[in-house]
Symmetry: C2
């Protein structure tokens, strides 16, 4: 029994074996021990709730794997709502023939990352489909967090600073290079609990809005902010942090880093008065050492625009990506 | 644009279009309108949290479809913990080439069933994979409910009645016949909110344990109860409700109805003293008209056994299913 077979999804003896041998080996929550259909949880009255499916290809890439990615993605989505990550679900779709070793690596990676991020895996589900009906493994993780501060589009004001917590594009370039069987760029895949929770504790009301720039990249997030808050935004190209190895690959391949996916970064809109201290705070943390103030919230507008002040001093309007640069990056 | 293309998963313009045209057309929760990465929700302090992925084949079958199934499955899992269903997530993995009409049918069915079940779809996610890397659509739904009563293995007592709310095996036989391009059996796919919530209100402390007999069937649930509560159980074969059309197919095909999946039934362990009144209560409701007391909780045991008293008066031990009767029934 070293590969997934259809009977692993039957709800009978083989499912039992798989759960006992592999799932409970890593996921040790007391909520899971009796394998109830639903976990019973104590929470505060205001919670954040989020879901994401993960179909990344390859499953293992420099800096992470589909399991770590699932935990980080869901944790960071909770953090965007100023919620303390608490509980995680794990829904697994397996393709018949998947080596059990790969599944074990993925579960152990989820377990490690969940501990790191301070979230507990409390409920799960496994389905198996025939060979050729999935690509080895797809994951879903849904998360619950307890809201500890009030952030949202409605708090964004003219003059607010737009901050990004580090270099952009690293995840998508790492996945791209892994597909090309090349190395050189690590995915930034990381849970931001240890950055965002202290940030909220320290700067509370000065943090107006947060969003992690995953699919659609930094450009996607900034456009979304402009559209939803109905305000113009200006971004300074020269202030946007891009690591050299990402910049080189982008130039070679014609990618625009503004549209590349990140999996361990946050875009933050904060009160101008606190922006300097926030930047100092970020620069002291390993996960946000390259943080930078990249732009300002402009005037309210019924047809909001995002403009990029280019390095050579020109202005370029940022538009939504039509099509995509790479499929299945997360 | 009448089929899913990879760009629908990009996080750019096409994703936006798909969400605006199809998702927000059906899912009208105020929590979804700004499409945040996580929904902010008010809940009671004790919640139930559950997740399930759905890979059923075919997508549409007599009595339901993958969308209805996802909502019912998650709602019923919440109800097993005596939780009032409140919030639902919807994670979608789409295969390139899926007709948008099919996706629309599925979303509209989810919307209809969620309203019926009293649960609100508040957060979601869409991924697209290349043709041949999935089977049209896979769904994940995770749910949050508010716990209104205390049920669980630890409440099960010797002498308790084991009740099933209706005929068994209908879902699996309906899916089986749909694959054979035959008709005749409707899936029992249904959310049990309207049965279980009033049951709890009326009989509160007399309800000791609930579980929906999906994969693994009635036998799987009864075996699980015996193992976890460490008690013998006796089931009367003659009291187990099986509709004639299910019985006929089982006899023809050699299926054992005890192991067949259900998607609109509940197995309930209740105090003996209340069992008669509970049965009367069930028989007045459309979704549980065929309810029956099928057995009793026996003595505590370190090696618990489930025994079936057969119609001809013999005793047969019920064992766990090894392998499975049909793959991808949910």
């Amino acid at each position: 029994m070293d590969k997934i077979i259809l009977a692993h999804g039957s709800g009978g003896q083989r499912t039992d074996e798989l759960i006992k041998k592999l799932v409970l080996k890593y996921f040790k929550s007391k909520h899971l021990s009796h394998l109830p259909d639903a976990a019973k949880l104590d929470v505060k009255k205001k919670i954040a709730f989020t879901t994401d499916s993960f179909v990344v290809n390859p499953l293992f890439f420099p800096g992470g794997d589909i399991g770590k990615l699932a935990v980080c993605g869901t944790v960071n989505d909770l953090l965007t709502q100023a919620a303390r990550p608490r509980f995680l679900s794990c829904g697994v779709i397996l393709e018949e023939g998947l080596p059990l070793d790969d599944l074990e690596k993925i579960f152990s990676s989820m377990d490690r990352e969940a501990k790191q991020a301070g979230i507990e895996i409390v409920t799960g589900d496994i389905k198996v489909v025939e060979k050729g009906k999935a690509d080895r493994i797809y994951l879903n993780s849904s998360g619950i967090g307890e809201i500890i501060a009030d952030v949202g589009f409605e708090k964004i004001k003219k003059g607010d600073a737009v901050i990004v917590t580090g270099g952009i594009g690293e995840h998508e370039i790492a996945v791209y290079m892994a597909r090309m069987k090349e190395k050189g760029v690590l995915s930034d895949c990381a849970s931001l609990t240890s950055v965002v929770l202290p940030l909220i504790e320290k700067f509370g009301g000065s943090i107006h809005f947060m969003r992690d720039p995953t699919r659609g990249g930094l450009a996607g997030v900034v456009l979304e902010i402009a559209e939803t808050a109905r305000t113009d935004i200006t971004i300074n190209e020269g202030s946007v942090p891009v690591r050299k190895e990402v910049r080189v690959t982008c130039e070679l391949m014609g990618f625009d880093p503004l549209y590349l996916a990140n999996e361990g970064k946050m875009v933050i809109v904060a009160a101008e008065s606190a922006a300097g201290s926030i930047l100092d705070f970020f620069k002291k943390k390993k996960l946000s050492r390259l943080a930078s103030i990249i732009g300002r919230i402009g005037s309210p507008s019924r047809k909001p625009e995002v403009n990029l002040r280019t390095k050579i001093g020109g202005m370029r309007r940022i538009e939504k990506l039509s099509g995509e640069q790479l499929p299945r990056i997360c």
